[in-house]
């Protein structure tokens, strides 16, 4: 299948008012270099041929589309799962790191840095760096280092240096601050592989393009396996990269409902959540203007989620724009609901999903009866849950 990139909706690096380049002056030259390179690459068939070959031979794409029979019965409609969990390294994150590593190679940069929350992006970055022979440093919040010990060990096995970040809230937000500080210091030799559709332009549109393969494949697979487009497409949203990649395939299909599911943590009313689009307000963090969890003084509020990958107070600027335009609806489910969704998929479908993905699944389950039998719901199964098993065991105890 030939890759075709989504129609560019950003104008001068902004989706509506969102996006931009809110960074220290030192980084402006690197962002201009990256944007110029990427604008050229976007129409360079040789680049995309190399990218696609790696997706095929290294990642194992296309990822399959699985009919979720028993989950469908429980919900009262047909449910399809886009199996990004079957990618090499276990999540959609590898799609983006391959694209960006190819860009780094074109720029002659030999050192790669990344931030990671759940560790999936860190593992995906360490993986492609090993494959390309690039030095790799991953910043990870000290709290996440504890929560995701397995992924920390995987990164180290792959030759990466993992730096625990102890400042601020000790999670993804602070890991991103520290990665940006590294980049400001080593910008001449280093490429920063941002893991989501966040950060200064051109990252949000570049990462979206590298994830758009999800939606493009899924759309073609729905037509081939189901015979028509889905009624509703659902994906979880932290920074929002799997969601934007999935939605990119369906934005022009006005009849397809698009739903992003954020983490409501302990409940939005408690203040302990990561539901940026549901409860935040526009603000500037990590280089872009987007919805942000912040207090009255403009200080960024700590996010909370049972899943380290959604534990982020910001969100991609394209999501903010899609929210405001109404093209995508954003919902939120709690930690407890996500844990229930996690268990359901294990028992109903024989698939252990990532806790991030479990939020999208939980929302679908909660909506049982919402769809007709003739409808179809497509869920982006963005990652597998092996990394979460120990964490879930601590929370739930051992299943009887």
């Amino acid at each position: 299948m030939a890759l075709s990139l989504p129609r560019e909706r950003a104008v001068a690096g902004r989706f509506g008012e969102y996006g931009g380049r809110y960074v220290p002056e030192t980084l402006m030259a690197a962002l201009e270099e990256l944007a110029t390179l990427y604008d050229g690459v976007r129409t360079d068939p040789a680049f995309w041929a190399e990218y696609e070959l790696l997706l095929k031979e290294f990642v194992g794409r296309p990822s399959i589309l699985t009919r979720a029979e028993r989950l469908g019965e429980a919900v009262g409609t047909t449910v399809w799962l886009k199996r990004e969990d079957l990618n090499h390294t276990g999540a959609h994150k590898i799609n983006n790191t391959i694209g960006q590593a190819l860009l780094a190679r074109r720029m002659g940069k030999t050192r790669i840095i990344a931030e990671t929350g759940a560790g999936q992006h860190g593992v995906a970055t360490a993986t492609i760096c090993a494959r390309f022979g690039l030095e790799c440093v991953v910043y990870m919040g000290a709290e996440d280092v504890e929560r995701q010990a397995l992924n920390v060990y995987r990164m180290r096995l792959l030759g990466a240096t993992v730096v625990p970040v102890t400042s601020g809230t000790r999670t993804l937000k602070d890991a991103t601050n520290e990665a940006l500080r590294d980049w400001v210091t080593n910008v001449l030799t280093t490429h920063y592989i941002i893991g989501s559709v966040v950060g200064p332009d051109p990252y949000p549109r570049m990462v979206r393009d590298f994830q758009a393969v999800i939606g493009q494949e899924a759309r073609e697979q729905m037509l081939a396996q189901h015979g028509r487009l889905p009624t509703t497409v659902v994906a979880c949203v932290g920074g929002g990269s799997n969601a934007i990649g999935m939605f990119a395939g369906f934005l022009d299909d006005a009849e397809v409902e698009l739903v992003g599911v954020e983490a409501a943590g302990e409940g939005i009313a408690t203040g302990h959540h990561s539901a940026t689009l549901s409860a935040g307000a526009p603000g500037v963090l990590h280089g872009c203007l987007s919805y942000l969890l912040q207090d009255e003084d403009g200080q960024v509020l700590p996010a909370h989620s049972v899943s380290a990958g959604l534990d982020y107070p910001g969100v991609g600027p394209e999501h903010s724009w899609l929210r405001d335009t109404g093209r995508v609806t954003y919902e939120a489910v709690t930690d407890a609901e996500a844990l229930a969704g996690f268990q359901s998929l294990c028992r109903l479908e024989g698939i252990i999903p990532a806790l991030e993905t479990a939020h999208a699944l939980a929302w679908v389950e909660k909506q049982a009866g919402r769809w007709r039998a003739s409808d179809a719901v497509l869920v982006c199964l963005s990652g597998r849950g092996d990394k979460d098993v120990a964490h879930v065991a601590r929370l739930l105890g051992t299943p009887a």
Partner: protein, 271 residues
Amino acid sequence: MSATTSSEARLDQAWAQLRQARRTALIPYLTAGHPSRPASLEALKRAAEHADILEVGVAFSDPLADGPTIQRSTFEALAGGMSLPRTLELIAEARLDKPVVVFSYLNPVRRYGVARFLADAAAVGASGLLLTDLPAGNDPAIEDAVRQSPLSLIRLVAPTTTGARLAEVVAGAQGFLYLVARLGVTGASATLAEGLEGYLARVRAASPLPRAVGFGISTPAQARQVAHLAEGVVVGSALVDCLATAGPKAAGVFLGSLRAALDTADRERHG
């Protein structure tokens, strides 16, 4: 000298006086509310005794351009209840007789309201605004609002700012240029950045504005060296560190030693 009423003119006037006196500007940076509100107030007053211009930092939860020292100072200030409105109150209460440049990340200012901030900052006597994460040309509406306010729009120049970018940065700058001496975040450094002389000459060729050099200047010897190359010296992390460990009085003594080093350099240059 004619009386001026606008605070922008005040910053320009300060540089004109410095030029006339052949004096290199000493520009201390302090995080408002660090290490505590009373100690911060005292430190600002003591700093003003030695300073030609003062930079007052607004604490922000995510200081991504700052090294460990300033990070710590902002987290401590926030823990002590500091905020953007309280920073303005502190500046008002300090009644500083030197021009004040407010140093902030964009989000607190944006949340407060840019127009409201500019009016309130001018009302407490601030003369300039530097937004760490608002590079030239990225958000023209905000930059235009600052330029049209009584506050000067102070811009950062980095070693990576070259060619057309440098021309764009200096084109809309007001007051003075803040030159980031090296790649990296704020923080004290044992040695001055290599290539500083060429970098400073490049900026001079691009703009007639006074150049203040910061990032990594921590000793009288370094200050003296920079004084031979630029019109102003910014000292931040080393001062914040001194204040945190030894208190406001010691911070004043430290600034006195930097002032003496600059005076020596000024004599060396002009006889």
